[in-house]
Amino acid sequence: MDFVCNFPFFSILISLFSGTICSILPEKAAKAVNRIVIAAVGVMSGILLLYLLGTGESFVYWMGHFPAPWGNEIRAGVLEAGMALFFCIIMYLSMAGGAHKLFDEVEESKHNLYYILINLLLSSLLALVYTNDMFTAYVFVEINTISACGLIMIRQVGRTIEAAVRYMIMSLLGSGLFLFGLCIMYDLTGHLLMSNIKESVALLIQNGEYQIPLIVSVTLMCIGLCIKSALFPFHAWLPDAYGYSTVSSAAILSSLVSKGYIFLLIKIIYRVIGFDIFNSTRIIDVLFVFGLMGMIFGSLSAIKENDIRRMIAYSSVAQIGYIYMGFGMGTQAGMVASVFHILSHAATKSLLFIAAIGLTEVSGGSRKFIDLTGAGYRNKWAGVAFTAGSLSMVGVPLFSGFISKLLFAQAAVQVEGKMLATLIVLGISTVLNAIYFMKTVIRIYATTGDTSYPCITFKDMKVHAIVLIFFILLNIILGVNSQPIVNMIEQGLAMFA
């Protein structure tokens, strides 16, 4: 085995261990450790990705001295390595971009705790991405939930605490259902490792045994993960949680945490149940309908919103609807479109959050639209970045959002029964997106007589501006250079099976 194969294990372990180390370090050192760890994990994932593209095969890695059905395993393929790399990039940029506003209303002595949470969140995301064992996935889902809750409520204003309680209640309902589904699955197959479960499930389907429990178990796991990733009817906690937490938290939560659960769901669909078996159930129709409803209702709520951060948060609900709609189509093309949308949404949403903080900063800290009038002139870089993000969200060519909408439309054409609904809702949702994002863009570029707020130039916010440029570049790379990435996703999904 090549030394590179150790990298997934190293990246999980380093980030776990750095969480422990940060607990004894002062703030500055903890910050340095955090940055180094994220960068190191990113580099390792990049090397691993290149290696895997070279060999073209996925590999499993024993966690211990025992082979497959007895020990614990992690598994790495192209899609996993790519996801890990992408998560690291987004996390690094979000942390750097929000750094100057990180500790708004956070007590000074608790700053180093923030970095512990970030490290543990990273490790749990990596474990969710790489794991090949269902129960390990459950344990790391819990770490993910608790550290996300910590990220929400570290800024202790009343709203965030309330949002954290709502978030915890919803998440715990979700974990309960997920665990119950997992237990039923364990009872039917007698295994916990994904590949072994898949073999047993195929055997059960072939023999026609235990059909009802199998369907119920899959449904429970799906509902659990949908609740945790804030699919439409379960999104009540989301606007407050994203809208009032510190900006890095909001960017990380919206672009990474919910995506981690969605990635786990993809893994379950492919590696535990089997894509064809999953598509032959009625679950995908339910996912499809809820996805469509989420797309419309999320956008409608965003239009009504009066507060820029909450508006962006509601737009996340709509975007998660897109992803589930892709699952619901039940074809390979729909799945590829969903995975691409995960990437594009993560890149765009964190860009929007980071840019929004730049805009509110020059408006006296207020996030009401009325105060944001003309903010695009006062903070040009944030204005440009926000415009770019909005264009990407609406789906203008050159930006990543366009490609994902194109992929969704292409996928929809191949599906008989769902084509019309998908295309109509896609159209409506694009118009709604355009309404609320363009409204904001026009608002921040409206002329204003009010000059009481200070202007901010490049010198005052170098890091912030550079991060924004990187985000825009990432968006454009995803938008212009989409074909290799789509190929990579297809290759990765093929490795899953």
Partner: protein, 124 residues
């Protein structure tokens, strides 16, 4: 209905407990009771798992007198999973209780809807 409902009475009890806990978590207005409901829900899942590992007439999986025969012991896997699960649920309930304390100190209420109304009135 399948054939095994009466044999699986333990699991049936676990399912009923799970639903009671679930209902508590959804419907109780009081946060403390919500947390108790959450704990009941978790315990129900663990009961379900432990029932899965039980085999009639065998003993606990601790090797006695050097006998390492499969026929002698029950299945050890569910016990291990439940042990892990209990730790998770303790941490979660401690976290929820601390959130409750913090909310109460600030808003003097344990009802989430009431707190939300207060928040919206004062914060807009």
């Amino acid at each position: 209905m399948g054939p095994n409902l009466w044999i699986n009475y333990g699991e049936a009890v676990a399912a009923i407990l799970f639903c009671i806990g679930f209902t508590n978590l959804l419907l109780q207005t009081n946060l403390i009771k919500k947390i108790i409901g959450l704990n009941i829900m978790d315990s129900a899942i663990y009961l379900f798992l432990a029932e899965k590992g039980y085999i009639a007439g065998r003993t606990a999986p601790i090797v006695t007198d050097g006998v390492t025969n499969v026929e002698a012991y029950i299945n050890p896997i569910p016990s291990g999973l439940v042990l892990t699960g209990i730790v998770v649920s303790v941490s979660v309930s401690a976290l929820m209780l601390s959130l409750t304390i913090r909310l109460y100190i600030r808003y003097h209420s344990l009802d989430l809807d009431e707190i939300a109304a207060q928040l919206k009135k004062e914060g807009r």
